[in-house]
């Protein structure tokens, strides 16, 4: 009896420190199922494929997490991704594909992402509008600008760009290095005071304010980080697609929210982990390949995918709840 309780409370402590544990379990399971359904999906090449395809959603979801920490949400991440994608592609094709231009374009991309985040932060936190509707409004605005920058999909990115993304170093696919860098980055970020403060704000804005935190500024930082990660996501998309498309991110926004939830971060703020969101993004990808590998007939695929995601979302939420109780 006491043993059981202490096990439960140990689990609770563990889960509080690593809220992504259930997601990690889910991820393993999906990998195994995918492997059973299609053994080729376990080859290094296939894994590299999964990584390069979903790294953009991974970054986008990670960015979304920092906003969700404070109980906010950013429905404009997809639009930011599109804007950065077309902007860097346009810059690179205007000024040629030399390495310094590529770097310049990346710098500009980060700046654009940060600026969009700043705008969202000002609107939501500074002007105190409701995040869902306000970031929906900014997403329309940002999409409009993306369309203006590149009115139709199609401008190619210089080969240097996507060859680095798709290439290998020391025989290891570069995307794996990017993932390693992301993990290290997240581990470092989790130890920053800012993340603790974001979480404190998510627990209760008034309390955080009364404790002497600059709530408005902290929330704006959350949005800026989110914008920067959306820009990084745009780099990944550009690396994987080698082109600019003003509509490319539109459908990814809601997936990023789903990924955040799958990763064990509460939409109500104050608790969660960005690493979990990264796992959540991959889970979404693996579900859709599993549906295919498992041989679901085409007209049922969308339903199977939708229903599985719903069930997994529910299971994830329930698992965190159970162990937290």
């Amino acid at each position: 009896m006491t043993k059981a309780i202490s096990f439960k409370s140990r689990m609770a402590t563990l889960l509080r420190r690593f809220p992504f544990i259930p997601a990690l379990g889910m991820l393993m399971l999906l990998f195994i199922l995918n492997g059973i359904a299609e053994p080729n999906s376990m080859t290094v090449r296939a894994l590299k494929g999964v990584a390069s395809t979903y790294l953009a959603l991974v970054f986008l979801s990670v960015g979304q997490t920092f906003v969700v920490y404070t109980a906010d949400i950013d429905l404009s991440v997809g639009a930011i991704l599109s804007l950065v994608n077309v902007s860097i592609v346009v810059i690179m094709s205007q000024f040629g594909g030399e390495p310094y231009v590529v770097l310049l374009a990346l710098g500009a991309g980060i700046a654009i992402g940060a600026l969009c985040g700043l705008m969202n932060g000002i609107v939501v936190s500074g002007l105190r509008m409701q995040a869902i509707v306000a970031t929906f409004a900014t997403s329309i605005l940002i999409s409009g600008i993306a369309l203006w920058v590149l009115p139709v999909a199609g401008m190619p990115a210089p080969s240097l760009f996507w060859k680095v993304y798709g290439g290998r170093s020391y025989g290891i696919p570069n995307v794996f290095f990017f993932i390693a860098i992301l993990i290290a980055l997240l581990a470092i970020m989790a130890k920053t005071g800012l993340v603790t403060k974001l979480l404190a704000v998510g627990n209760g804005q008034l309390s955080a304010y009364q404790s002497g935190l600059s709530v408005t500024r902290i929330r704006i930082y959350g949005y800026i980080i989110c914008g920067i990660f959306a820009a990084l996501a745009a780099f990944c998309i550009t690396g994987d697609t080698a082109s600019g498309d003003p509509l490319v991110g539109g459908a990814m926004t809601l997936s990023s929210v789903a990924a955040v939830v799958l990763g064990g971060t509460a939409l109500s703020g104050g608790i969660g982990s960005a690493f979990g969101s990264a796992i959540g993004a991959i889970i979404i990808g693996l579900i859709s390949s599993l549906v295919f590998y498992a041989g679901v007939p085409s007209q049922w695929q969308n339903l199977a995918q939708g229903a599985t995601i719903l069930v997994v979302l529910m299971l994830g939420v329930l698992a965190s709840k159970r162990i937290n109780q």
Partner: protein, 330 residues
Amino acid sequence: MTIMQHSNPQESRSALFVYLKNPLLVAFILIVLLLTAGEALSPGFASMEQILRLLIVAALLGIVAAGQNLVILGGREGIDLSVGGVVSLSAVLAGNVMDGSNANIIAAILVCLAAGGLVGLINGVGVTIFGIPPLVMTLGMLGVLQGLLVVIRQGIPSGLAAPALANFVSKPFLFNLPGIIWLWAAVGLLMAFLLMRTSLGHKIYAIGSNENAAYMAGVPVRLIRIMLFALSSMFAALAGICILGYSGTSFANVGDSYMLSSIIAVVLGGTPLSGGKGGYTGTMAGAFLLILMQSILTTLSIGESGRQVVFGLTLLVLLLFYGRSKALRG
């Protein structure tokens, strides 16, 4: 505590402010301003017929927004992202059942409301019994509904609206107004009565404001919340039927645009997403305002990117008037 009988320094200054804070009033002022602007941009824009046609479109959105409004009022981050999916599902189901014949209208309505009710019930159970946040539950449900639509459409004939339904939506019905506008007015009255003159209304606001206190005061919290989700889907289903009447035939992606616009209509109408306060009259104004804005934008020849930029900015400016949260410093 002291309730001041005499005026204090802030009171007189804030009289105008209080009016400006009334969302309904702001919405009406904006509607008049936009109509004037539209008329100035293109004469004939504010004609009776055009306003009537806008009202029809607003009614479709307004009916979806009624359900959205209820879910949001009920609090606990209440939101229904699945309404668009339900609208599509209902339009397709209604078209299939009706098969272009008046005789099948009742059956179609029953089937759609039942299907909607079932979807809402599942949403409600997921949210209340399993404790899934509404945004997550209804987002997941949206994916399921989109998949379901693909399955349902396999090889099932027709998709035609019955003539009576099409007429109800677009032809004069009573006092020269189309039936859909009467229907919207009826929905408005029903919602106002429900929210302000019934115990259910009190309970909805109670769970939206402080769920735990409501629970401790014997309010059946879960039951009511499930009911709200069911009502939301049923309103969306009703709107789906009307949209079938509006467009004559059903098609797969008909509901997509209703998901976020129904939420915007509610917010523009003065119901904050945090729930527990607001009402439907404002939402009706919000729905009309949104349709009016979109319509003026369509007529501007500034290209799609320009339109989106203007629309985004206008929305932001409008939202400044509505539902802003309180400053942390009292």
